[in-house]
Symmetry: C2
Subunit: 458 residues, 2 copies
Amino acid sequence: MAIQKPSLSKGTRDFSPTELAKRNYIIDKIRTEFVKFGFQPIETPSFENYETLMGKYGEEGDRLIFKILNSGNFAEKVNSTDWETKNVGKLTPQICEKALRYDLTVPFARYVVQHQNDITFPFKRFQIQPVWRADRPQKGRFREFYQCDADVVGSNSLWQEVEFVQLYDSVFTSLNLIGVTIKINNRKILSGFAEVIGESEKLIDFTVALDKLDKIGKEGVVKEMLSKGISNQAIEKINPIFSLGGSFSEKIHLLKEILKDSETGRKGIEELEFIEKAITQLSLQTAILDLDVTLARGLNYYTGAIFEVAAPEGIAMGSIGGGGRYDDLTSIFGLKGISGVGISFGLDRICLVMEELNLFPQEIGDTLDVLCINFGEKEALQSLKLIQKLRSLGKKTELYPESAKMKKQMAYADKRNIPFVVLIGESECEKESFVLKNMQTGEQKEYLINEVANEIFK
Amino acid sequence: MAIQKPSLSKGTRDFSPTELAKRNYIIDKIRTEFVKFGFQPIETPSFENYETLMGKYGEEGDRLIFKILNSGNFAEKVNSTDWETKNVGKLTPQICEKALRYDLTVPFARYVVQHQNDITFPFKRFQIQPVWRADRPQKGRFREFYQCDADVVGSNSLWQEVEFVQLYDSVFTSLNLIGVTIKINNRKILSGFAEVIGESEKLIDFTVALDKLDKIGKEGVVKEMLSKGISNQAIEKINPIFSLGGSFSEKIHLLKEILKDSETGRKGIEELEFIEKAITQLSLQTAILDLDVTLARGLNYYTGAIFEVAAPEGIAMGSIGGGGRYDDLTSIFGLKGISGVGISFGLDRICLVMEELNLFPQEIGDTLDVLCINFGEKEALQSLKLIQKLRSLGKKTELYPESAKMKKQMAYADKRNIPFVVLIGESECEKESFVLKNMQTGEQKEYLINEVANEIFK
């Protein structure tokens, strides 16, 4: 076998113990809040049948789904014309019957439909698993990344939206990530805009353009709308939304004026008001709720509320969470009339924000409390007796495996940033004692093995 | 879009909240012990470069690795003869540059080599992630399953083997899985056998046959050895090992006699004795350490100790764990002289054994402590104020989303097995109080919202 210089596949990452500790710190906080809010965990397989995933994410999505080659003689039964003409589009489903999941939402819809008779509705589930996309890798964009999703299906109640705002607030508060903005919008508001300007059939073009307001400014948005055939006159009618400012209720006030002739628009306002009033009465811990009428997030998906979370002011980072209500998710698998609403947390970006704000606990990378120095066979055996006691006290403890030079063993303790070192030499063996060295202060103290207790680690 | 009846891809599973709770219960116990023993977590990507994985698991392994089809026009640059002749063996590496990991060991070796300058050796890592194999699915065999591995690289010390025996004992004790047998053997013992019968070059055939002793009996083993060209006379020389019984030290005693002329064999005995003596002095909590000279576990891999864990007597189940020492793992990626030793836990089988012995805590599937009944908008808002307090006490709490009929809401509480229900109607709203109903006893009691505390949930 030729020796290979190993490397990672493009767009994937190894996580070292310290990096993983940080990620798991965030995941644990998210999971804890999910559970407190009554969400139940599920897991679905990494790959699904090809046809379960294809056609659910648009043409671009289909392209970005990783397909798994059939095992064995994959070419045996393919259509010979497709093979001869190298028609890869037609060949792919013939040589791949499986594909890696692209998100957690479609597999969740499949789960709900498949297990509908065992599920008690409303069903509140959370799911924290990796997903895969054949994107061109670039800074901050990976081919494998975790999604952390919480969804409720089987309830139309707006209390769900209220609870999701509270859930975002609780998670970011527990992470000590203070001052995030939870932006909210409603698909019905966007439909209302399109309606009042008489361009309902151009709803998608309209909102795709509007969604870019913070990136390309009013001028850019107007230019794009014009290029899509939306008239100057029509755009003029909704001119005030380009500079919609003030408080949540001031914005609502203006929207009522703009959308007064759209029933759909008025319904959207009513829903937003319900959520805003409840949140005002319940009050958020550290997050800010704001109305952003430009928010669309792949509009076709959402039918009611749309959420997006922005990092605290001053941190340049895209959204760190998003979600919304979708009224017909499970119908793609034949189950109609099940409304759903859900939110997602962007683990990688939250991690970057926490790094930047220095919010991880100091000791997060510390993986060992005590190292026992190895002075030889007899002493090592005695050390292992103490180690058993230390581990039963919950102390992360290990024996240095070789009776190497003291200097080497202490260097290992330093490199791993171990706070305490235990020394059991010949005389300690006889006395059934050990010397505990505090690596920070240099202080050494002797104890009997039978005296060992949590209190001595101070 | 045509409506599809959804199904899982063959050999994969959904995990419901209860199933997942059981799996996570086991994983948490394993992880807790890994951490106490000083192991550090890492994670590697789900897919690796094709050539990182291929050729590492033998021909059969190569076949079972899932390959990922290249994105875009995968057929564009393939060799035209290979395409025309449908030479799938040659085409696969041309159309697939990535593959799903087959185990955690080869990715770990890749990790060690790639990050060798950042790692402090000896490096104790653990890794709990899914792996994928294109096996024909059957009862208890899946195409996606978790591996839970702990390994140390960079130390030849036999104390590592001692610690792994203790680690197995600690994990199974903490799972309350009492009476597992940790079987141990040593590659050098097996080499010794082959040497003393003069068949060193038939070591693999010899041990593959011997490994089957508990399945096909002595007669079957002898038949297989004869068919591989090992003579009757040779087999006769090691006849005693077919019925090797008694205590660990009695077996050692007999082995010393059989292997007295093999230096390798004597070295193997010495290693086994070291481990057995240390374990005897330290004593195990609930597991039994036993010597099994037939144990081989894919011999080519291991160079020293070989471990396998059997479920408690009376439980018909293959091994629930295994591992051993391998002296040259990282050399496949160009880093020589790094000895490693590791063990693995079989999550699926441990789960089945725990089910059979009824070892999961009763409350493992309970996902909600308190449900607040929804009597309408005003009452729901008041309930959410109480819910905030309950969640901050750590109680898993939710509001029933609709003000549905009482009967429907109580049925939901029953189905989800929720122990407490909170009722806030009009009069409780006025008094700022709530009624707490114990669903098991039927008892109801009224409290002020400000009085809420953990003690009232009894």
